[in-house]
Symmetry: D2
Subunit: 341 residues, 4 copies
């Protein structure tokens, strides 16, 4: 039997998830597309042949003909709808962030633990990107020796939002980096520093962060939301014996006008299309088997990302290195020698 | 309703096609896996949840619960089974080559024309590879100016077959290059030259070919079946204004031991996984709509590949440039301004 | 008439300078090779056809048949011998550092100002490296827009010295990075942070630094003295409109054993051979014309490098961001719109 | 004592040679700059501090204050002036080609043999280029196994000469490729094929050649005098165990406007500056020691290049593979296990 999936949110992310369910997830059926904006829900549903549309997410989550839920509605709804899925006893893949508030993440964790079983995956899809998979492998198989540093660069062409601030770069853009570096290194953060250069205009300047891990490694992160030249994510994992760097994956090179050039994308969708597909296939297997995927992020990961982001904002404000003060990880979230264990 | 697909042949290629149908083709159902070796058919069918298995391909093609056929059995069966599909009035995707005999290709073309409709796609999946798509686009959109040359390199790690000859390199390996260069350039061949260097052992040496097109372009092709260092396909399309080259697509780079290195695959499957998926999705759309895909190869393309290969073998034997003597293309095989038109 | 140059110090650096003077500096003559170890001086002098050898550097500097001096003896001798050259009224190219003590640098600056003319060049040869020249040009010609960040990575295969510390990485290795980033950006430093990860052995771990400039830019520097995989210097200059990155300059690529690889050097000499040649040719022109070269480092640059290194050591010790507290630049050291002005 | 060198010809090539002698050849003195155009000779001589200028090359070659000669005057003068140098008993570095006529090359060879000593170096400077040096090394040290093929691409931005023909591409541009492939492989040519695509304008189209060597290897050469996009020389040496490819040597990469780009030069001078320097230093050593350099090209090499070019022109005219019919190499031109021996 096909797994009947409801997608909550029919914006850019929700429409992408719905398309993957409809076209790239044999064994799954796009049961409901739900959006507060009924017309938007209908538009996505019709294009993809969804069974039904709806406007009330909590009602959708409770429906008998819905086996599992993907939450891709606005960030503030992520935690409440994840809680609704817990109440309905249904597996949910919640887009990142679980919440921007570490406190609210703890509440969801509490509810999940009380529910007695893992039900919530967080959409940190970078973990499924082939580049990070190869990095992680080179670390696990001993090629690199002990990991010492990870350098991360996240660059967007521009931030259309005129109100976007350095604090928002840390809370909205950096969590992907916070999570994937934790995941690759298999560790937690101990402290974070942050600084910004000054731009000549009023757009948000890059934020550069330096983090220490509990295993005494260093992680540097640059988030540059107005890099102008292209969408570009880079990472390098430096070990005692060698280093693995991410390539910009391109298929052709153009020689013209005294230049040899490859292209950058203007946004993130092409870059991570395969990672989203892999992540959602892993979610489907989770729904089918009940076994939480070794690679997927869970609520603990969501909490860690939110907490380090909150701490990073204070570091940027104070200009001081700030300690990341985490609770102890509940045994409920232990992995058996998994990638981030 | 799902399209019910039978896959004929459960060897490496057939198993791959069956896997794509089962896992990557929403809207299709893996109905039958057929192989002369019943155990092999069962093994593939069970792993992928096929509905049925069989050992008689002609009977499978005629079955009422089979809507379309993928032929991936040994090369000599390709033309006969394509003819069987024509008789059954069913669309077929036939792995390359349609036949190694241009004469036999003409017979299939004759039958297809008499059947009154296009039913046969040939599995020249390179046309769907992103690198060639980008090359073709740079040519069509004027970036390159008039195309002058295309340089092609096909390298395998090794040829296990001790009996493999230069002639076989031309008939078995080069057709992918013959087809994709014709497709990118949108032209036919006029002549072919071929030569081989001498190896120090008894393995087959590379074959280097130079072809002239009917539009007065040059195509060079190196087929090196024992290149040792890796599976590596390269191509460069040179125009009057610039040039587009294929990249080796890799996700990471390893710095270790005084070297900065990327990896080659040891075989072709990773390299063309996405091209096969795209091709088979195009086949599914063809089955659903009846409209022959603009990108796909047809029997005319199969005939051209076989004829230039036959001519290339004579060129290698004689050491002389040999004219490629084609029939005129039947109007039946015209494309409406399509990529190879 | 040829300029007669004395090279003080016949170790690795001194022998390299002597070779450049003898073989790559038409218009210069290798007059004296001076080393406390007479045999070492003779060995270098004979191989290169020097006119004379000596063991007393101050006497050599005073000789009437010596027009100019290159100081490449141990670091502690740099300032005293530069002062000796000032007393002799002779131009000197002093290997970096002028001194590891900012205080001692100020003393040399004082003496040079009192001498009434610029006589001292500091051997920060990176400024002459083609990569940094191209970066600087892209910034000056407006290609990059306002500079926001510069990321710098300095990696050696290994540090043979078992006593080498993180503080020494800052005082001995990082000054090249401190200087060249100041030079490219045309600015000074305001603050520095520093941290180290933990290695699994007792070798010195990398030091990662983050510096703010007085123009509100960020400079990150990683100095990894035991990077294992190769000698590797990287830099990226990030502006508001784009970014320029340094390439690892290599002439060939080897495809073998499922790998496509370029080589790293095992030390710095090949990497900067051309920069040393350019620098020493600039020194020769300085001697010939009396005009201090626009690109060359002077005592002010030597002071800045020493001061930021001293501050960086305290930042590493305290774990705090430390202000770089510079004196105001004496007008004597002004440049006329030069590269670092 | 300095070697006093006369440079014959003060055009682009001659001026470059004169500059190298004046600025990059310690031990040499730029004695005479000679050109039929006295003003041009004076202009170059003054810029570089030459001792004297002249307009009569034969008289210059005979002067007592000239120890050695570099011939960089028009191609038709190369053989006559080389003969004049033989008569004067002086070593000469003659720019390529020795002559475009194989017959005239044989006459010079005859005269050189009768003179009893090697005196003539031919300016095939590619042999000194680091890329080819590394290729040759990878072949000689066994890394590549037996050499099977060498692929060569020579591309210029444009040919200003409206009368330039495919035959001229073979006789004027291809000889560098003919020579360096022979040199790297250490072999001679047995046959040559040639063809041209058709351009849309009246500029000379690329010429593609395929050559067989006497060791049963294949050499492909593309000469594209109107490649538009940049000056670009590529080569790949393919052996049984691996392959070495030439890199485009660049120092920086620019990320801007959705593109990551490196630059091509617009002409050959930057690309081969170091090769010319190395070659001329080797010539100086030859003058000083009398020992013919292992790497340098001699009259035999000049003859081979001329003969294969003449044969290539006939191959292009006839469309047939043409045998390269060489004389046996005179023992006078044997090398002792040298690179092309
Ligand atoms: Mg996500
Ligand atoms: Mg195929
Ligand atoms: Mg230095
Ligand atoms: Mg030359």
């Amino acid at each position: 039997m096909s797994i009947r999936i409801a997608v909550i949110g029919a914006g850019v992310m929700g429409a992408d998830h719905a398309r993957i369910v409809a076209e790239d997830l044999p064994g799954a059926q796009l049961q409901v597309v739900c959006d507060r904006d009924a017309a938007r829900a209908r538009s996505v549903a019709e294009a993809l042949g969804a069974v039904d549309t709806a406007t009330d997410p909590e009602a959708v989550i409770a429906r008998a003909d819905v086996d599992a839920v993907i939450v891709a509605s606005p960030d503030v709804t992520h935690a409440p709808l994840s809680l609704a899925a817990l109440r309905a006893g249904k597996p949910v893949m919640c887009e990142k962030p679980l919440s921007q508030s570490a406190e609210e993440c703890l509440e969801v964790m509490q509810a999940e633990q009380e529910s007695g079983a893992r039900r919530i995956m967080i959409g940190f899809m970078r973990r499924y990107d082939q580049s990070y998979v190869e990095m992680t492998r080179a670390l696990r198989d001993g090629t690199l020796g002990r990991a010492l540093m990870m350098h991360n660069f996240h660059r967007n062409v521009e931030t259309p939002n005129a109100e976007f601030t350095g604090a928002m770069a840390i809370t909205n853009s950096a969590p992907h980096e916070f999570d994937v570096a934790r995941h690759v290194l298999g560790t937690e953060y101990r402290s974070i520093w942050a600084a910004q250069p000054q731009r000549s205009d009023d757009r948000v300047a890059p934020v550069v962060m330096m983090l220490e891990t509990t295993d005494d490694q260093l992680v540097t992160i640059e988030v540059n939301n107005n890099a102008a030249y292209g969408y570009d994510v880079r990472a390098e994992l430096v070990g005692e014996a060698g280093s693995v760097s991410m390539n910009n994956v391109v298929h052709t090179r153009l020689d013209a006008a005294l230049s040899s050039a490859t292209r950058y994308d203007s946004d993130w969708r092409g870059r991570y299309a395969e990672a989203y597909r892999r992540q959602n296939r892993d979610f489907l297997r989770f729904v089918q088997t009940g076994a939480f995927p070794a690679t997927a992020a869970d609520c603990w990961d969501g909490y860690c990302a939110a907490l380090v982001a909150e701490t990073g904002v204070r570091a940027l404000e104070t200009g001081q290195r700030m300690p990341v003060e985490m609770i102890a990880r509940p045994a409920f979230y232990d992995r058996d020698g998994g990638a981030s264990g």
